[in-house]
């Protein structure tokens, strides 16, 4: 009844099952399960301390979960539990196939090398050695994230917060990842800069067909970016569904509270 014929449902890009993280006796997140399809944008929402970032870190291979599996459709090994890979294999897969945009650009950039070098570095890590080609590719990406390409050799600290975030976005997309994690990517920016960056992200995600997992506490960001949402409270997923359905007709008491607490302007 629900299958859409003529299109064989592609295998999931990412499949998470029973994911649980305890910090000693303190719960980070419990029993999280979901599939992500190629090109799908999943938003994880919830208040501070609800376990969003713990979950993101477990999924993205930064934090070993206490229990559960994170299976990713790797190019080299197919659908594989990333924590079953050897450390070098996992790191290589992360470098080649993933991107991670941090809330604070300082966590995602190397502040001592130029903006251009930051953008080009992932290419070099993947074995590119032709300096001219890398520079051209960097210029293309700076242009794509609407940065002045003449500033390619400036250090990140000489860019504004919004510009630093654009450098970070370029650095995380230049190598053609299939899955990008974003942790409050517009969190530290003022609203006008935030709107521009969101619009840019939205366009890039659509044009590149990227799968994205984006963590945000901002319902407006969630509505703009995500196809579907997972609402977290106290380390557990309390509601999931199509983004506009979760926001316009929330079912769980906590989601109702969250949505009704948004200030209108």
């Amino acid at each position: 009844m629900n299958a859409i014929p003529g299109r064989i449902a592609p295998a999931p890009l990412l499949s998470v099952e029973g994911l649980t993280k305890w910090y000693g006796h303190v719960l980070g997140c419990r029993d999280v399960a979901f599939d992500l399809r190629p090109g799908e944008v999943l938003g994880i929402v919830g208040e501070s301390g609800s376990g969003k970032t713990t979950l993101l870190n477990c999924i993205s291979g930064k934090l070993t979960p206490t229990a559960g599996e994170v299976r990713f459709d790797t190019r080299r090994f197919g659908l594989t539990d990333i924590y079953g890979l050897s450390e070098p294999d996992r790191r290589r897969m992360q470098r080649e196939e993933w991107g991670f945009v941090h809330q604070n650009p300082r966590d995602g950039l190397r502040m001592r090398v130029s903006g251009g070098a930051n953008v080009a570095e992932p290419l070099m890590n993947l074995g590119a050695r032709h300096y001219g080609q890398m520079r051209q590719s960097t210029i293309d990406w700076l242009d794509r994230v609407e940065l002045d390409t003449r500033r390619i050799d400036d250090k990140p600290r000489n860019f504004s917060g919004g510009m630093q975030q654009r450098i970070q976005v370029a650095r995380n997309l230049i190598h053609g990842p299939r899955l990008v994690f974003m942790d409050e990517p517009t969190g530290g920016l003022d609203v006008s800069v935030q709107a521009r960056l969101l619009d840019l992200l939205r366009e890039l995600v659509r044009d590149l067909g990227l799968a994205v997992i984006i963590v945000t506490h901002d319902m407006a960001v969630a509505r703009l970016m995500a196809d579907r949402l997972m609402v977290m409270k106290g380390g557990e997923v309390v509601e999931t569904g199509l983004t506009d359905q979760v926001l316009d007709d929330p079912q769980h008491p906590y989601t109702q509270l969250l949505v009704s607490s948004v200030l209108q302007i």
Binding site: D227, G241, L242, Q245, D249
Partner: protein, 234 residues
């Protein structure tokens, strides 16, 4: 074209439960059944608060019905919107199910022309063709050309409404939901929208509409559907 109904609503009920208002429950409708065939425009009737928009949003997948099913004919089969996964609903919306709401949800910074082109671009139509069709439609809806490169956030209600209409009529959606599409339009623009609706019906679209303007309603309705007959007991 198929002779099957394009929309089948069966035994649908919707009750809102407000957990943070002492568990208040607001029953809207129950056991609601409705079918809409190709070329038919069913107009939802009844006074404000009877649940017309709630029914429409439940059909679009924006609201989650309490029980029942909403089947939409998509790609040669019925997809139950109430059970389908998010990506399936999005796919049905992209290709089959259009929706004109009363208000435009503005995306910051995106210019009007591009907003109107989007449904075509998402369906693989070339940029040039999309741009040409969007321009034609915005001209037909008499939106001043000076506005086309501006995001519609600052437009008047009537102008935003026309951008919204252009977005939904730029493609021939087989199924269209119209929630007061002419509410803030003047007589001339209303007539243009009535013509767009009639053309789409003639080409076999199935529609469910809410129209408070009786002239518009009479011009497009195949039949009226009283939502109040399925009023849920409080």
């Amino acid at each position: 074209m198929t002779d099957k109904p394009l929309i089948i609503v069966e035994d649908l009920a919707k009750t809102f439960v407000l957990h943070n208002a002492e568990q208040a429950t607001i029953p809207v409708f129950q056991d609601l059944t409705l079918q809409v065939a190709a070329g038919e425009c069913v107009v939802l009737a009844g006074e404000s608060g009877v649940g017309k928009s709630t029914l429409m949003r439940s059909i679009f997948g924006n609201y989650l019905p309490t029980v029942g099913s909403v089947k939409v004919w998509h790609d040669g089969t019925y997809v139950d919107i109430t059970q389908a996964s998010p990506h399936e609903v999005l796919e049905v919306r992209r290709r089959t199910l259009g929706y004109v709401s009363q208000f435009l949800r503005v995306i910051p910074r995106v210019p009007t022309l591009q907003l109107v082109m989007e449904p075509l671009l998402e369906n693989g139509v070339s940029f040039e063709e999309s741009k040409e069709r969007a321009s034609e439609l915005l001209s037909a809806l008499r939106l001043p050309q000076a506005h086309w490169d501006l995001p519609p956030a600052t437009f008047s209600g009537g102008e935003q409404q026309r951008v919204n209409i252009a977005r939904s009529f730029i493609r021939k959606y087989p199924v269209l939901l119209l929630d007061e599409p002419t509410a803030s339009l003047d007589a001339e623009n209303r007539a243009i929208v009535v013509r767009l609706i009639q053309e789409a019906l003639a080409e076999g679209a199935a529609m469910i509409g809410i129209f408070h303007d009786l002239d518009v309603r009479d011009a497009v309705a195949s039949r009226l559907f009283e939502v109040a007959q399925f009023k849920a007991a409080a």
